[in-house]
């Protein structure tokens, strides 16, 4: 069902866990659809110095959270805001069609985390 890249990220998810003193936190998903993804960011000089995630989710959710953190780490806030769920899926060499909605929400969680960071800057 899942391709080798997805399975690799599922088996060895990168950057899992919390950032205790995160600058921004974003959570998306809900229990009725089955996947929840939470992203933590550490922003230093406008750059994402650290990105971590937690998930309650299926193989696709685990893998997309992992891939997202890889894509986002080191990017500027502006660049990171441009990462889409689709970018994550593409970086994973694709997800099964039925997994493109509920389970592929990592970029949304990142954007929420960055908005959270922004709201704290004012």
């Amino acid at each position: 069902m899942y391709n080798p890249t997805v399975m690799d990220h599922f088996e060895n998810p990168r950057n899992v866990g919390e950032i205790p003193d995160a600058d921004g936190i974003g959570e998306v998903g809900n229990l009725s659809c089955g996947d929840i993804l939470k992203v933590y960011v550490k922003v230093v000089d406008g750059k994402l110095e650290d990105v971590k995630y937690q998930t309650f989710g299926c193989g696709a959710a685990v893998a997309s959270g992992s891939m997202l953190t890889e894509l986002a780490k080191g990017k500027t806030v502006e660049e990171a805001m441009k990462i889409t769920n689709n970018d994550v899926a593409e970086a994973l060499n694709g997800l099964p069609p039925q997994k493109r909605h509920c389970s592929n929400l990592a970029a949304d969680a990142l954007h929420k985390a960055l908005e959270d960071w922004r709201s704290k800057q004012k």
Partner: protein, 389 residues
């Protein structure tokens, strides 16, 4: 890698004796059982033998068994066939919220085409209350359909009580015994059903073949029209090879009933005990006692079922899950939802169903890898600490 199949409620491998017989029949018997010549008569002889064996499996009469293309088809004939045959008498049907989709969706379809359907709720164990069945019966109720044992949780319904109520009110009673037959006693007179669904591939027979038991005198309308095979209930040249395999599987199910179910229940109990001891925040779903002897169904708090399924699969262990993400429809299990399980625990559910080829070593292997897998996913679950089981 070690491979352990613990998904026997999804399907079973063919019993070696079934393979032997089917191989022989495949080579030597090809006639159409409706043909009058020797080729046809030979096929008919095998077909009759199979019918008798399936009848013996459930204490039915030879002529009360109608072969179908599987459990789904038998369920459809039972539900639509009864509704259509007795629509002049009434338009009300009673079923439960935890039926297999073959019954549930058939009833839902009838509800959209002029019939009225009551979907009975269930308690926390997935159990139907016979009193509630009684309460819902109306003067125009024509059919009650309640499964014997649930395919997900393994919960066994109080079928004898429900069939008694149906009989008292002169309502036809159908019960889907696809999961129960071969695992717990299924006897047509004890269960008191008018219609019973069976499927071959859950009892080590081939796929795509099943049977409808129809008590003598009960009228159902056929869904297929054609050559009038199976006494017009199911037209179409019989799947002789499949039916013969089914017959053999039925014979073995009777012969090995005690020894096999005692053995499997021992393994299942060992699995449940081990999981509950080794892993915190686990719930055993379904009824603690009134459940199939081969079924262990758990919800692991904070963890999603498809992830568990995939990780177990990577260790060679095959199971299934009721989570939304693990189903093609993306719907969480209707059975667990109807049993009032919180969403999180529905998504975190995993079903282990044991069978012939499992050993104590298999169970111990599962118990050696499962705690680590659950622990790993919990280590990065955002839900840990939010709720408890």
């Amino acid at each position: 890698m070690r491979k352990i199949y613990m998904d026997y409620s999804a399907t079973t491998p063919l019993h070696p004796e079934v393979i032997a017989l089917m191989t022989d029949v495949m080579k030597n018997v090809f006639g159409n059982p409706s043909s009058l010549h020797s080729f046809g008569r030979e096929a008919k002889k095998y077909l009759d033998e199979a019918r008798q064996k399936v009848a013996d499996l459930i204490g039915a009469k030879f002529e009360e068994i109608y072969f179908t293309g599987g459990g789904t088809e038998a369920d459809n004939i039972a539900v639509f066939g009864t509704a259509y045959a007795h629509r002049k008498k009434g338009k009300h049907i009673i079923t439960s919220a935890v039926e297999h989709h073959a019954v549930l969706d058939s009833c839902a379809k009838l509800a959209k085409s002029g019939f009225e359907v009551t979907f009975l709720p269930v308690d926390q164990y997935g159990m139907v209350d016979p009193e509630q069945v009684k309460k819902e019966i109306r003067s125009d109720t024509i059919l009650i359909s309640i499964m014997h044992a649930n395919n997900e949780t393994g919960t066994i319904q109080p079928i004898e009580e429900i069939s008694k109520i149906a009989k008292e009110h002169d309502v036809f009673f159908h019960t889907d015994c696809v999961q129960s037959v071969g695992k717990i006693p299924v006897n047509v007179d004890k269960l008191g059903a008018d219609l019973i669904t069976l499927s071959s591939h859950k009892i080590y027979g081939p796929k795509g073949v099943g049977a409808l038991y129809k008590r003598k005198g009960v009228r159902v309308e056929p869904l297929f029209y054609g050559g009038g095979q199976e006494r017009k209930i199911r037209s179409g040249t019989e799947n002789t090879l499949g039916i013969i395999g089914f017959g053999k599987a039925a014979e073995i199910a009777v012969r090995e009933f005690d020894i096999e179910n005692t053995r499997v229940k021992g393994l299942r109990d060992r699995l449940i005990k081990g999981v509950l001891e080794k892993i915190p925040d686990v719930r055993l779903n379904g009824h603690p006692e009134k459940r199939l002897p081969n079924n262990a169904h758990f919800s692991f708090a904070y963890v999603e079922g498809e992830s568990l399924l995939l990780s177990l699969d990577m260790k060679g262990i095959a199971v299934s899950s009721g989570s939304a993400c693990s189903s093609s429809s993306l719907q969480p299990s209707h059975v667990l939802t109807a049993s009032g399980l919180p969403q999180e625990l529905v998504h975190g559910s995993v079903r282990f169903t044991l069978g012939r080829e499992n050993t104590e070593e298999d169970v111990d292997y599962v118990l050696s890898v499962l705690p680590g897998i659950v622990e790993r996913f919990r280590s990065f679950s955002p839900l840990v600490g939010r709720k408890t089981v």
